[in-house]
């Protein structure tokens, strides 16, 4: 019943985000807020990103993380939250998509 068995502090995105904040870094948090079809990561999943583009966690099986990271760096700069949508046919807005055929909505916000 050691807590570390149940909360992996070295990999947990929200614990990492708090640590980055303590180190004085600028941080963005991306959260899966909606999924349709076969989405790779469940609603509530997090990706945390710092201003240099370092990241932890995941919002998809690796399909759209690159795009989310570059959006997140903009969000850190502007402080304005964004809602991103990714789907397999969604080629107009984004250069990336989900090969599994699902669709996801990701909320990207700055910490603080």
């Amino acid at each position: 019943m050691n807590d570390s068995l149940y909360l992996d502090e070295a990999r947990d995105p929200l614990i990492i985000a708090e640590g980055w904040m303590k180190d004085g870094k600028d941080v963005a948090i991306a959260t899966v807020v909606e999924t349709w079809g076969s989405a790779p990561r469940p609603v509530g999943s997090h990706l945390v990103i710092d201003a240099d583009g370092n990241f932890h966690g995941s919002v998809s099986g690796g399909c759209v993380e690159g795009a989310v990271v570059s959006e997140a760096v903009d969000v850190i700069g502007s402080g304005k939250a964004r809602m991103l949508e990714f789907g397999v046919a969604d080629e107009t807005a984004w250069q990336v998509g989900l090969s599994c055929g699902g669709r996801i909505k990701v909320y990207v916000e700055r910490l603080g």
């Binding site: 149940y6 909360l7 947990d12 929200l14 614990i15 904040m21 959260t31 916000e109 603080g112």
Partner: protein, 245 residues
Amino acid sequence: MDPYALKALNAERRARRAAILVTDLGDGRDRIVREGDQVAGDLGAAIAKAFRSGNSGSVEAEGRTFFLNAHLPQPRLLVIGAVHISQALAPMAKIAGYPVEIIDPRTAFATPDRFPDVALHAEWPEDVLKRQPLDSYTALAAVTHDPKIDDFALKAALDANCFYVGALGSRKTHAKRVERLLALGAAADQIARIHAPIGLDIGAASPAEIAVAILAQTIYAFRSRGLDVSASAQRSESILEKHDA
């Protein structure tokens, strides 16, 4: 996200307490709601539902869209007794998503040979629970049949408000147990929370079937916890009545 909200959320998660981060997707403002906090209206109803299911999602309330991110501690099952039932229960519970730990001071019972891949403590519950306190996301099943081993753990589980407390033994055995727990200082309404005889009444006969009955009752207790207490209490009473019949 508000940095204070993040710190508060992580503190709850580290302490194995349930919390929901509520974000207004319109203006980005967020706040932490802890289990037991009162929130009015449609939003409050959605929050209560998210605490029970553990599912995150968006909700429309008061003309706004909120995202509820539910952070529930991983439920777990602590078994007192490295007995035959536990040998079947441990792998079943693990598959169902309830990691298991087993405590039994009898070193001949609590052997890694008999319990491969299980977190095993060949110590008295008093010693283990001092190090690793129980909490409301833990289920406790006492199956040794030995008051010296079971009683302390049962009292500790009631005091920690474990979401499930079950004890092996006939009604006669349980009546004696009730007297001992009263003598240990447990309140009568606390003792009433103990499921004894343990497990759903499915006519289980073999140790493996009894394990199924215990696991099913644990899952039911977890999924019905917190909400509509009177109705769920009635339902478990009717289960016990069937036992008595």
